[in-house]
Symmetry: C2
Subunit: 205 residues, 2 copies
């Protein structure tokens, strides 16, 4: 419990620092392989003309995702978490120290693939987005309701596979609304860019 | 580190208890939605005629998976982990106390969906199986190599979607072999029962 309180305090420090520098930050969470990097790749592609963007990515050891995003020419910071299955406010604080916050106005943080711990570890980001995929099955929201409770936007991805999976995306949307009626739910095919503009609108970026 | 040592000690106790009672236990791990319950459902369907089976399932709060397996008429124990994203030896010890070990000879343990923590938390099971799905993308093994290092069997599931995902299952198999040349890799479509007999052979159950 002390661990979570210490994390909350640091998250608040991060939040104040980002606000002072006029940087909007978004914490992007979701299961392993749900489509977080693909979504960020699409967002950066659409926004880099009018926003000054940096991307943080939390991974155990590899830099595969960071390399994909770096090709856009935006600033990226790889956060290697070692054995941790979630990012925390301290890791983000250290990553913030590596960049010139005056040179950016939008920070996208890709969390470690996990629908459990990230719910408890605030990072100091202003908005929280959760990506789920229809390929994870029909009960994914019901089984992990906590992380959806304070999500601003929920993206239901890989809609191209909903039929093959026999998963009803409308039902998943209802499950989200049941847990958090304020969340904006966007049905998407991130790989093909379907739904990206709606995500941008819902985040107000 | 003390936490892991304490867990190893308890796992060893579980292992001895299971061995004394002649119960084979298998720890089934994998991402959220990779197909662990579907695999267990198929295994139980094939084996319940000749083995006396019990199934443990670790979930945050719901009993959805346990209910699916219980329909087979085999003994099931739901382990609610609350906020933990992995099972540990202590939770398994408590679950073992709830069943008559003399009445079973095979225990299937479905771990919480996660490819990170379960690698460090041995449960005392004799064999470890990891289920991955082609829908999680092409880099899933490379990004999470630790959990594959001491897996006996790795099931690459949802092969029916490999083409739609543009993911090469042979490449995933190579990634597994690269990390652990002793692991048996089985390509499967668990939903339709494809590959289940090969899984049974590789586990020797
Ligand atoms: N069919 C389909 N595949 C998609 C879609 N979006 C992403 N993918 C694929 O899903 C796989 C995983 O996508 P990523 O974007 O790497 O997922 P991630 O959430 O960043 O994964 P981790 O960082 O490893 O947790 C890749 O093979 C993508 O090409 C989609 O809309 N439809
Ligand atoms: N297309 C396809 N879908 C599958 C296959 N195997 C399982 N599924 C589907 O994948 C979804 C998740 O399967 P589960 O067996 O519940 O996965 P799990 O790993 O137990 O999930 P959690 O316990 O929630 O972590 C369900 O909708 C299944 O029907 C398969 O071989 N092909
Ligand atoms: Mg990623
Ligand atoms: Mg399951
Ligand atoms: Zn964690
Ligand atoms: Zn964990």
């Amino acid at each position: 419990e002390d661990l979570l309180q210490a994390n909350r305090d640091l998250a608040e420090e991060n939040r104040r620092l980002l606000a002072r520098c006029g940087v909007e930050a978004i914490d992007i969470m979701g299961c392993i392989g749900s489509g977080k990097t693909t979504l960020i790749h699409q967002l950066v592609g659409q926004l880099k003309g009018r926003r000054r963007i940096a991307v943080f990515k939390g991974d155990l050891t590899t830099t595969i995702d960071t390399d994909i995003i770096a090709r856009h020419g935006v600033e990226t910071v790889q956060i290697n978490t070692g054995k941790e299955c979630h990012l925390d406010a301290n890791l983000v604080r250290k990553a913030l120290a590596k960049i010139d916050l005056g040179s950016i106005d939008l920070l996208l943080i890709e969390n470690v693939g996990n629908l459990i711990c990230p719910a408890d570890f605030q990072l100091g980001a202003e908005k929280r987005l959760v990506v789920i995929s229809v390929t994870e099955g029909p009960y994914m929201v019901v089984k992990h309701s906590r992380i959806f409770m304070d999500a601003d936007t929920v993206v239901i991805n890989k809609l191209d596979l909903a039929e093959a999976m026999k998963v009803d995306a409308d039902r998943l949307e209802e499950d989200v609304k049941h847990v958090n009626s304020n969340a904006t739910v966007v049905k998407a095919i991130c790989r093909d860019g379907v739904g990206i503009n709606t995500v941008i609108e819902s985040l107000g970026v």
